[in-house]
Amino acid sequence: MDIFLQIVISGLTVGAMYAAGTIALSLLWNSMGMLNLANGAFIAIGGYAAYWCITVLHASWIFALPVAAAAGLISGYIFYHLLVRWMYQRADFQINIIIATVAVAALVENGILNIAGPEAVRQPFQIAGGLPIGGVILPYQTLATFAVVIILLIVILWILTRTRLGLKIRAVSQQKEAAQLMGVHVSQTFGAAMMLAATVAAVSGVLVTANTQLFPGVGFDATLKALVICIIAGLGNIRASILMAFALGLFEISVQYIFGQRYGFPAMLTLIILVLIVRPAGLFGKETVTRL
C-alpha cells in the first residue's frame, strides 16, 4: 500500500511538472499555429532568472516568480520581433518555425552556458518538507506546483475568454485575413500571444527546475516531454494536455518502478506511438480538414 501511495505521489509530482510545461506550448499552438521548440529556452531563462534573483541579489523568495515572469516577457518580446515576425507571413510557416526554434533553443543554451557556466546548481526557490499521508510524504513542493499550474491555467483561460486581448487572439487564430479586415493588428496580437506564452513558460521554468536541477540544457528534455504530451492530447487542447500530463506522469513512474529507471521515457513514447496510430490527431484532438 505504501509503495502504491509512493508511486501515486511521485507520479503526481512528475505530472505537475509536465503540466506546467505544456500550458505555454498549447497556448502558442492555439493562437499562432506555431510549435515552439524554443520553449525550453524560456524555461531555462525563467529558472536562471529566479536563481539569479535569490542568490545574487539576495532578494526574498517572493520576488522569484515575478522576476522570472518579467524575464520571460522581455525575452518573448525580443524573440518575436527578431525572428517570428519575419517568418509568420511566409509559406510553410509551421515547418520553418520548428527548425528556427530548434536553432533559437541551441543559441540560448549556448549563451547561458557562456554566462552562467556548465555546472548544475540547485534551484533555491524550493519549499522543504511535506505532508505525511499514511506513511509516505507528499512534498509541499508538489502542492505548490499544483497550485501554480492551476493559477496559470485560470489566468490564461481568463485572458483568452474574458479580455479584449483574448478576443483578438482568438479572432486572429481563426481567420487571420478576416481579423485584419476587421481592424485587428495581426502582428501586434501575435506579439502579445508570444509574450504571454513566454511568460507562462518562464514561470513554469522555475517550478520545473525546482524538481530537477538547474543547468543550461534543462529545458530541452522538459520541452520534448511536454510536446509529446501535447501531441497525445491533441495539439492546442489546454485542459486535455494537463490531464494527460498527470496520466503520463503516473504511467512513467509506474514503469520506472516495475521495469527500471531507464525504461520510463521509452515506454511512454511507445504508448504514445500506439495511441497515435489509432488516433492520428491525439486522444482529444479534432481532425482538421484543410481547405484546398
Partner: protein, 370 residues
C-alpha cells in the same frame, strides 16, 4: 515564350550533369594539391555529411515529410556495422550491407509509425524516437561481453564502441596514404548516393513524391497510393544513410552516442537549411558552407553551437530558399528583368480588354456593327 516544362527539364538536367562532372573532377583531383592529412580527413567528413543530407533531403525536402529522426537512421546503420564487426568479427566491408539493411528496416519502421501523422506531429514524433534511442544507449550499463576483464555494454554505453576493425587501408596503402583511402571511399559514397538521389528526383517517382508534398489530397485523388510511397521514400533514403553510417563508423574507428546528440542533429539540419530544403544541389552546397563555417568556429569553441544556430536563423530570415536558391537566382538573372521569385505587379491596363463592355449608346453599337 516560356520553354515547355519538358524542355526546361531537359535543360536543367544537362546543367546538373555538367555541374556534377565539374565537381567530380575537382574532388578527384583535389588530393594532388597535397593539402595535408588533416584537411583531407575533414573533406572526407564533409562528403559523409553531404551524402547523409542528400538522402535526408529526399524525405524532408522532396516528399515533404518532416522527419527529424534521420540521424537515428544514420546511427543505426553505423551501430549495426560496428556491432557486426565487433561481435561476429566480420570484415567491415562485409558488415556495411548489414548496416544498410538495418537502416532500411529502421527507416521503414519510422515511416510506418508516422504514416497517419501530419506536419508538426511527424517532427515531434521522429525527434522523440531519436531522443529515446539516445537515452537508451547512454543509460546502457549492463555487461554484454568482456574483453580482457573490461565490461563491454551491448551498445557501448556512454563511451561508445571501438576496436571493431576498419576498412584495411593501413595494410593496403600504408600508414601515410591511409587517409587517401578514406577520402576516396567517402567520395564514392557521395557520388553513388547523389546519382541515386538525382535519378529519383528526375524519375516519375520523384514527381510522385513532389505531388504528395504539394497537395496530398489531390495526389491521392489522382490515384497515388500515399501509404506505399511514404514507405518507399523512407526505405530509399534509409539505404544510403545506413551505408554512410557504416562508412563513418569505419573511418572514425569509434562510434559513440554523440551521433544522436541534439547538437549534431542541429549541425546536419543546418546543412540542409543553409543549402536549401528541397533543392537538388542544396545538400552539397550546404554541407560545404557549414563545414567551412565549422572550421572557422572551431577556433572559438565556446560560441561554436551558438554561431551555427545564428547562421541557421539568419539564413531562414534572409535566404528562405537557401544558398542553392541564391545560386539559381544569380544564374537566371538577366539585366532589366524583374526577379522571378517575386510575383510581377498586375498591369490593370492588360485586364481592360476582358472587361464586360458597358451598355453603349445606340449609335456606337451601330457603328461597330457596320
Amino acid at each position: 515564350m516560356n520553354p515547355t516544362p519538358e524542355r526546361s527539364d531537359r535543360k536543367s538536367m544537362k546543367r546538373d550533369l555538367w555541374a556534377g562532372v565539374a565537381l567530380l573532377a575537382a574532388a578527384l583531383l583535389y588530393p594532388l594539391l597535397n593539402p595535408g592529412n588533416y584537411v583531407l580527413s575533414q573533406v572526407a567528413l564533409l562528403f559523409i555529411w553531404a551524402a547523409v543530407v542528400t538522402q535526408w533531403n529526399l524525405v524532408f525536402g522532396f516528399a515533404g515529410i518532416l522527419s527529424l529522426g534521420h540521424m537515428a537512421i544514420f546511427a543505426i546503420g553505423g551501430y549495426a556495422t560496428a556491432m557486426v564487426g565487433l561481435y561476429w568479427h566480420w570484415s567491415l566491408w562485409a558488415a556495411l550491407p548489414v548496416g544498410a539493411f538495418a537502416s532500411v528496416i529502421a527507416s521503414i519502421l519510422m515511416g510506418a509509425a508516422t504514416l497517419r501523422l501530419r506536419g508538426p506531429y511527424v517532427a515531434i514524433m521522429t525527434l522523440a524516437i531519436s531522443q529515446v534511442l539516445y537515452s537508451l544507449i547512454l543509460t546502457d550499463v549492463t555487461c554484454f561481453t568482456h574483453r580482457q576483464q573490461v565490461c563491454i555494454n551491448f551498445s557501448g554505453g556512454a563511451t561508445g564502441l571501438s576496436r571493431y576493425g576498419d576498412f584495411g587501408f593501413n595494410q593496403m596503402l600504408g600508414f601515410q596514404y591511409r587517409v587517401l583511402g578514406d577520402y576516396y571511399l567517402c567520395l564514392a559514397l557521395l557520388i553513388v548516393g547523389s546519382v541515386f538521389a538525382f535519378l529519383i528526383i528526375y524519375s516519375a517517382l520523384g514527381a510522385t513524391f513532389r505531388a504528395l508534398r504539394d497537395n496530398r489530397v489531390c495526389a491521392e485523388a489522382r490515384g497515388v497510393d500515399g501509404v506505399r510511397y511514404q514507405l518507399l521514400v523512407f526505405a530509399m533514403s534509409g539505404l544510403f544513410t545506413g551505408l554512410a553510417g557504416g562508412v563513418f563508423a569505419g573511418i572514425n574507428h569509434s562510434l559513440g552516442p554523440d551521433v544522436l546528440s541534439p547538437s549534431l542533429l542541429l549541425f546536419v539540419l543546418s546543412m540542409m537549411i543553409v543549402g536549401g530544403r528541397g533543392t537538388k544541389w542544396g545538400p552539397i552546397l550546404g554541407a560545404a558552407a557549414l563545414m567551412l563555417a565549422d572550421i572557422v568556429l572551431r577556433d572559438f569553441p565556446t560560441i561554436r553551437v551558438g554561431g551555427l544556430s545564428l547562421i541557421i536563423i539568419l539564413v531562414m530570415i534572409f535566404l528562405p530558399r537557401g544558398v542553392a536558391g541564391l545560386v539559381d537566382d544569380i544564374f537566371n538573372w538577366l539585366p532589366g528583368e524583374t526577379s522571378r521569385s517575386m510575383p510581377a505587379g498586375i498591369d490593370f491596363r492588360q485586364l481592360q480588354k476582358f472587361r464586360t463592355p458597358k451598355k453603349a449608346p445606340f449609335r456606337s453599337v451601330s457603328t461597330r456593327m457596320s
